[in-house]
Symmetry: C2
Subunit: 327 residues, 2 copies
DNA sequence: TCATGGTAGTTAATCGTTTTCTTTATTTTA
DNA sequence: TAAAATAAAGAAAACGATTAACTACCATGA
């Protein structure tokens, strides 16, 4: 059924070694023999078995990317960036979508790390790095992206959202908003917690009280963030901070539908996506993450780690910016 | 460095066979031996090498999904659906993003088909199936999704958009539109051609002429479809058919920015995504593809093909619907 | 006592490549 | 012309797991 190198060798009347060398051009083989081998390859329809090769060489030129939510455009963007970086070096990217499900993440990290890929980039939905460590070989190359974990001792490329959110909230306050609501992301994620604390600090710095009900716990995987906004509006909030891009889009749409104009009836500080103009029409303040650079650095970092397994660990932090509407 | 089954066997003072049987529970091993083996596994930090196993057994429980554009939400949706179907049967999904690039597609199909996965689902950006056939083993399981290819002789799950577009255009005409523009997708794709011909047939059936300039050639990967709409509007088109969802979103946003109200100033027939409400606010006619069912059927089909390699080829066609605004 | 059967484990072949070490044939050199 | 050098290709051992075939041991019953 399946044709192997052995079959080709027999057919061409040479040894498997010669066939291998012809295929990989790894030593001189006379033109006649080469031709004969190629002819046999074509006739038999042979194509080398990647698994056999990987098994022998251990070299895969394959990187895994564990993504929490492929349907979120910001991840789609980062995937593309990472792909481009890897492609430059002849590496391919395998994408795994975890849907923010911890066990799915661990299962897949385990699978990939057990020989399928050379290394992985992980946007983790976990809390503690040791959960990952428990399922991978001790020296397996891994780069965390976007979200930190407790006890992480591996390369990472992170985002610092604190100051962007902080500045944004200050601006809201300075424009007279007192009741400011906050819609969180998944609270187990470092990013969500950082953003919340920026909001809390800004409020505290201006001496404003944060009623517990001002904080609405959401997550980007939920069907809708609308009930959360509605709740905040009902409480009389005049401004709302939204912790991630998916919910931002959801909420803006809700406001439009309800006939509320952002910036007049209510003020929203949300999260935008680099290079995307969808939100232009709302003329609003947005926190913009340097996603492109994030992806580029993560791609470069995993390659560097593969190249130099023993180099010291590198932790990179990028800073998000507040893009301001002129009003 | 890397610890293999052999090391575990030595450490535990048993044979590799016994270790294998302990790990896979593939036959009875005495409790004491089992314990000793487990102890050694823990002490040495052993974890079985997936490649070694795959190499030997040939069983991977891995399916590849070649997607043209991961940033397009409709593909993200389909990916999730396919994942769910496969997960039910213990299969995992590896996603490859081709960005509508033919050579990327072929490279990756070749890679995956050469032993990495059991089979692939492909939303191809190619024209002729023989291009694929040239890079895969003759009996490699493959399911085409969404887009047909010439000379395709493999399973497929396709969409029939013709009638939805046709009906939509007829409706536009019946409402008095005479100059109707059409913005195409990538013309090498079967889907784009089908949609264009539906438009042309509707126009012809009503005796309306289609100026060549009414047809603007776009593609979902382009930065923007705005110049194309602008061109059509400048020509005095009162209605425009948009061939895919990405451009539809792009164009609606442009119209909003420009202060044009869809349905009053100009009439757009675009493509929507199942279960997504983004377009509700525009209250417009939309062609809606049964993407969820599409994904489910593709997932089931590849599994069935893996189970029964010799069953006859199956070609499924689903029909898109025209979702109508009440006006 | 010895065939019988069951139990717990070992041996060794195997999957498809790569690659090191040899071998054989041919040419060059002294 | 024999020895040395070179050229071309072959033989065989890995890589890490699975698994069919086999062995050693012990208990049982006639």
């Amino acid at each position: 059924m399946k044709v192997s190198m052995r079959d080709v060798a027999n057919h061409a009347g040479v040894s498997v070694a010669t066939v291998s060398h012809v295929i990989n051009k790894t030593r001189f083989v006379s033109p006649e023999t080469t031709a004969r081998v190629h002819e046999s390859i074509k006739q038999l329809g042979y194509s080398p078995d990647a698994i056999g090769r990987i098994f022998k060489t251990g070299k895969k030129k394959l990187v895994g990317f564990i993504v929490p939510d492929i349907a979120n455009p910001v991840w789609a963007l980062i995937i593309e960036v990472v792909e481009d970086v890897l492609a430059e070096y002849g590496f391919k990217l395998i994408i795994i979508n975890t849907k923010e499900d911890s066990s799915r993440e661990l299962e897949n990290i385990h699978l990939l790390s057990s020989g399928i890929v050379d290394g992985v980039i992980v946007a983790s939905t976990l809390v503690d790095f040791r959960e990952i460590q428990a399922v991978i070989p001790s020296d397996f190359p891994i780069v965390l992206i976007d979200r930190t974990l407790e006890n992480a001792n591996c390369d990472s490329v992170m985002l610092q959202d604190f100051s962007a959110i902080y500045d944004g909230v200050c601006r809201m306050i300075e424009q007279g908003n007192k009741k400011i609501g906050f819609i969180t992301g998944l609270m187990r994620l470092s990013t969500s917690r950082e953003r919340l604390s920026a909001y809390q600090k800004a409020m505290a710095d201006y001496g404003l009280t944060v009623e517990p009900s001002y904080i609405q716990y959401g997550n980007s995987m939920a069907k809708s963030a609308v009930p959360l906004v509605r709740n905040l509006l009902d409480q009389g909030c005049s401004a709302i901070v939204v912790s991630n891009n998916v919910m931002t889009g959801d909420i803006l749409q809700y406001l439009t539908n309800r006939g509320l104009k952002n910036g007049y009836d209510v003020m929203i500080l949300g999260q935008g996506i680099e290079g995307q103009s969808d939100y232009n029409l709302h003329q609003m303040d947005l926190m913009i993450q340097p996603s492109i650079e994030l992806g580029q650095l993560a791609g470069k970092q995993i390659l560097e780690r593969l190249e130099h397994p023993t180099h010291p660990i590198k932790n990179i932090v990028l800073t998000s910016t507040l893009s301001r509407r002129i009003l």
